[in-house]
């Protein structure tokens, strides 16, 4: 992936620093502070979220046009720290964490299942199943591609920070996410297959330019929780909530794509998630989140915070999609034209 286009002054300063040799970040801190002072919502600020995305990506696959030496550059870490502080503070202010919940496996799992209980109201999954046109299906894939092409990676950061039953549970889930030893069955690879089936380019990071801040924020939250050992409770809770809101919606997504004639190869990703996430939600809720709560009782609030943040951001992204589509508009920042003649 190449560095994306900046979306404001902060991004400009960051991108121009990263195109040089590691070491000089100049006035980056001041620019971060100015961007944070000027924004009215950190979660939907294009400049802030794209800049966070760029800073986090240095820890995943990096950028073709950026020296890998930037990853641990203190000046960048300081700037990231300022952005993260504002991001985390905003998330903690916005979400409602249930409580108090005792640090018991069953109580924590029950709370997570209650937080993620299926609801009958409007949702992106229902819209996709019944109404979405082909262009909107393509948009859905483009929006999701920013995370799904590295599916499971942010949660993997947590593995060395956990121990015992919670660690075993996370590894059991992640092994399945990564295809159980088969590269072709990796969930990110199945998503790439779905993208190709709909005429999209499955290159990692290909559509970052097209996705809005709110989509980047949902990915950035995973990176924030995953990269900080302090937030290991939050990343465990995030994964539990993610898995617990996956099986039923994925059946609906699959239905939406089948309605437009997508073949089995193209819907494999969704079909796989119906079955896999019915397994994962049990392990994530009981053994990972519940197990971690018993090992480290002081993490209960953060486990529930991570879950609540996952759901809150998922709702924000969903509201953005349904609002745009309801107005007959695109949910993307720039148009994406798939190859004609795909499935």
């Amino acid at each position: 992936m190449r560095l994306p286009t900046a979306r404001g002054r902060l991004g400009d300063t960051l991108v121009s620093a990263l195109t040089g040799s590691p070491g000089r970040t100049g006035t980056l801190d001041d620019t971060v502070e100015a961007a944070l002072a000027a924004t009215d919502d950190v979660l939907t600020d294009e400049d802030v979220q794209l800049s966070l995305f760029v800073l986090y990506e240095l820890h995943y696959r990096g950028f073709d046009d950026v020296d890998d030496g930037w990853e641990w550059e203190p000046g960048l870490l300081a700037a990231r720290g300022l952005l993260e502080q504002a991001f985390e503070t905003t998330l903690r202010q916005r979400v409602t964490v249930p409580g108090p919940v005792p640090a018991e496996r069953r109580a924590v799992a029950d709370t997570l299942f209650a937080m993620t209980a299926p609801t009958p109201g409007p949702s992106v999954a229902r819209y996709v199943a019944r109404r979405a046109d082909r262009t909107q299906l393509v948009e859905l894939l483009v929006q999701r591609s920013v995370y799904q092409l590295k599916e499971a990676d942010p949660h993997t950061w947590a593995i060395p920070r956990l121990a015992g039953a919670a660690k075993a549970a996370l590894v059991e889930i992640q092994a399945d996410e990564y295809g159980g030893g088969s590269a072709e069955r990796m969930h990110s690879a199945l998503f790439a297959r779905t993208m190709r089936g709909m005429g999209l380019d499955d290159t990692y990071g290909r559509y970052v330019e097209a996705v809005p801040a709110v989509t980047l924020a949902s990915l950035n939250a995973m990176s924030l929780f995953g990269l900080h050992r302090r937030l290991r409770g939050a990343i465990a809770g995030h994964l539990a909530a993610f898995e617990m809101t996956s099986s039923i919606p994925n059946r609906m997504y699959g239905d939406g794509f089948r309605r437009h004639g997508a073949d089995q190869d193209t819907t494999w990703y969704f079909d796989e998630h119906v079955e896999a996430d019915a397994v994962h939600e049990q392990i994530a809720g009981r053994d990972l989140a519940g197990g971690l709560a018993e090992q480290e009782p002081e993490l209960v609030d953060d486990i529930l915070f991570g879950a609540a943040a996952c759901l809150y951001l998922d709702d924000l992204v969903g509201a953005h999609l349904l609002d745009a589509w309801g107005r007959g508009r695109s949910s993307l920042r720039t148009p994406v034209v798939p190859d004609a003649g795909a499935a």
């Binding site: 059991e172 399945d176 996956s246 494999w268 119906v274 079955e275 896999a276 397994v279 049990q282 392990i283």
Partner: protein, 71 residues
């Protein structure tokens, strides 16, 4: 869509999840009523216990939509 290998080195176990499916791990052969092998696509399986799954014998999470409760 090849099957995942059966984990022969893991002792078999069945975990009854409260209000949810049966999780099957380890060296277990899954067959239909004629003894024909059923597809095993992952090391850990969730078998439907509520009766409402659309992908039986596997769980698809529907127990939560129908409010299934185990005693």
């Amino acid at each position: 869509m090849s099957d995942a290998p059966r984990p022969r080195n893991v002792p078999p176990s069945v975990t009854a999840c409260p209000d949810g499916p049966l999780l099957v791990r380890g060296d277990v052969e899954l067959v239909d009523d004629r003894g024909e092998p059923l597809p095993r696509r992952r090391a850990t399986l969730a078998l439907c216990r509520c009766g409402a799954s659309a992908i039986k014998p596997f769980c698809d999470g529907t127990h939560r939509a129908i409010g299934f409760r185990t005693p």
